[in-house]
């Protein structure tokens, strides 16, 4: 089976010389959910930004069989939907509907189709009826869902989620995880919450100092690295 994401020997250094990723190898297969674990500053977010070409390091990054390069970023970003940690950074249009339709419109869809796709995405995340609301009037949980709808409206094959349950209360976290489990896309989930990792993923990789030092079943990884295994 050809992996949806295939990364070989990825290295990345920021312009100021800080080396953040050293020799990363990673694969993601269709239908799979992988949790990305590791302490703060271990390179998880930097790694995540390589998955849709926002950063480009040395090494090979292949998404759905395409090597990520400057020439095919539009095609890559069509296939990889990224949900960033702060939903406020992802909601920048006057209304929720326009925001969710932003992605489909950028893909070249005609406005009526893009709006219909946006409505469907909003219904999928349980926000039908809030189309005309201003994004800054939403609760944190609703913002998170609206941001997710904005990603789902592009119908990506891969979802990349950066700390998806941050700022959410426990019921909100439970609702979001239930929703994520219904989505058929392969997922990469960066999280600090062991309960989230154990709930949503079977496999995990563990980052430390810019390297993946371990990978395997989630519970095994959590126990091996003393990351407060769930009850």
């Amino acid at each position: 089976m050809v992996p949806l994401i295939e990364i070989r020997n990825l290295h990345f250094r920021y312009p100021d010389g800080t080396k953040v990723l050293s020799g990363i190898d990673f694969q993601l297969y269709e239908g799979e959910t992988v949790a990305v674990l590791g302490p703060n500053g271990s390179g998880k977010t930097t790694f995540l930004l390589h998955l849709n070409g926002l950063l480009q390091g040395e090494g090979e990054v292949r998404i759905c069989g395409m090597t990520v390069s400057k020439d095919n970023l539009a095609a890559i970003r069509r296939r990889v939907g990224v949900l960033f940690q702060d939903p406020n950074e992802q909601l920048f249009m006057p209304t929720v509907l326009e925001d969710v339709a932003f992605g489909p419109l950028n893909l070249g869809m005609a406005p009526p189709e893009a709006l219909e796709r946006a409505r469907q995405a909003l219904a999928q995340v349980g926000l039908a009826g809030l189309e005309q609301k201003a994004p800054y009037h939403l609760s944190e949980g609703e913002k998170r869902r609206a941001a997710l709808a904005g990603v789902l409206a592009m119908e990506p094959q891969i979802l990349v989620l950066d700390e998806p349950t941050t700022f959410l209360d426990p019921p909100g976290q439970k609702d979001l995880l239930s929703l994520l489990k219904t989505l058929p896309q392969a997922k990469v989930v960066v999280t600090h919450q062991t309960s989230v990792a154990a709930s949503i993923a079977r496999r995990a990789v563990f980052f430390q100092n810019g390297r993946i030092i371990d990978s395997g079943p989630v519970r095994q990884i959590l126990e091996r690295h003393d990351w407060f295994p769930p009850d």
Binding site: R77, N88, E89, P94, E98, F102, N106, A134
Partner: protein
């Protein structure tokens, strides 16, 4: 959290809000031209031009007092130019400059307050405004939201630690305020970067797409005609009043 009122105003449902952005922009430009070409000798009566934007603001159900206050933001800048030209062009010309500036700001507010930014940007580009300039305006507008929000967060955090920026002047407070300002811009820049990354991730390629196609109708033509007739009529009245008072 408080957000710019302009954004809220622009999402109203009046007949003015429903007009095509291009019609409103064209109407504004024509109005400004009429105002600009009204002789400065009419300084006593130039304020009559405000009747048109005030009528629009009221029709759009925008709070008039707030709109009048907002527009006054232009006066300090206009006052500098007005003062500079008193020796060469006289007091009447300077007063005329102030009045024209205020009326122009009010008219611009009537357009911006009834047109969401994406439609306004599209309208500007359709009418030939440089794409880069329009893009910069859009990003700047979004950046102002981020800076405003950041400032509110920091004000709350400072107040929670016993700070009171409105109290008597103290050098320590000024120093703290300066540091807070720097931190605010640094954090706002960071957030702006995050927003830009989120936009790129959803296929942004340098142009904000419009979710609803706009169509120029007879009503829009009628609006432009109405603005021209009204502007010229007010100008005529102003010129007549000026002649009578001389």
């Amino acid at each position: 959290m408080h957000h710019f009122e302009l954004d809220e105003w622009s999402r109203g449902a009046s007949w003015l809000h429903r007009l095509d952005a291009r019609a409103k922009i064209a109407g504004l430009i024509l109005f400004l031209l009429v105002v600009a070409f009204t002789p400065p000798a009419a300084a006593h009566w130039l304020w009559l031009f405000a009747a048109l934007p005030v009528a629009e603001i009221v029709a759009a159900r925008i709070p008039l007092t707030r709109a009048l206050a907002f527009s006054a933001a232009v006066l300090p800048f206009a006052a500098v130019f007005a003062l500079v030209q008193i020796p060469t062009r006289g007091l009447a010309a300077s007063v005329a400059l102030l009045e024209k500036s205020y009326v122009s700001a009010l008219a611009a507010l009537a357009v911006v307050g009834t047109t969401p930014l994406p439609k306004l940007a599209h309208g500007l580009m359709s009418l030939g405004a440089p794409r880069f300039l329009v893009l910069v305006i859009q990003f700047l507008y979004r950046y102002l939201f981020l800076v405003s929000e950041q400032a509110q967060h920091m004000r709350l955090a400072a107040a929670s630690r016993g700070s009171n920026f409105g109290a008597r002047f103290r050098r320590r407070r000024l120093s703290a305020a300066g540091g807070a300002l720097a931190a605010m811009f640094a954090r706002s820049y960071q957030r702006a970067e995050g927003t830009y990354q989120a936009m790129l991730a959803r296929g942004f390629a340098g142009r904000f797409p419009l979710a609803q196609a706009s169509a120029f109708t007879k009503v829009d033509f009628g609006y432009i005609l109405l603005i021209v007739i009204a502007s010229l009529s007010i100008q005529k009245v102003i010129v007549l009043f000026t002649q009578w008072s001389l």
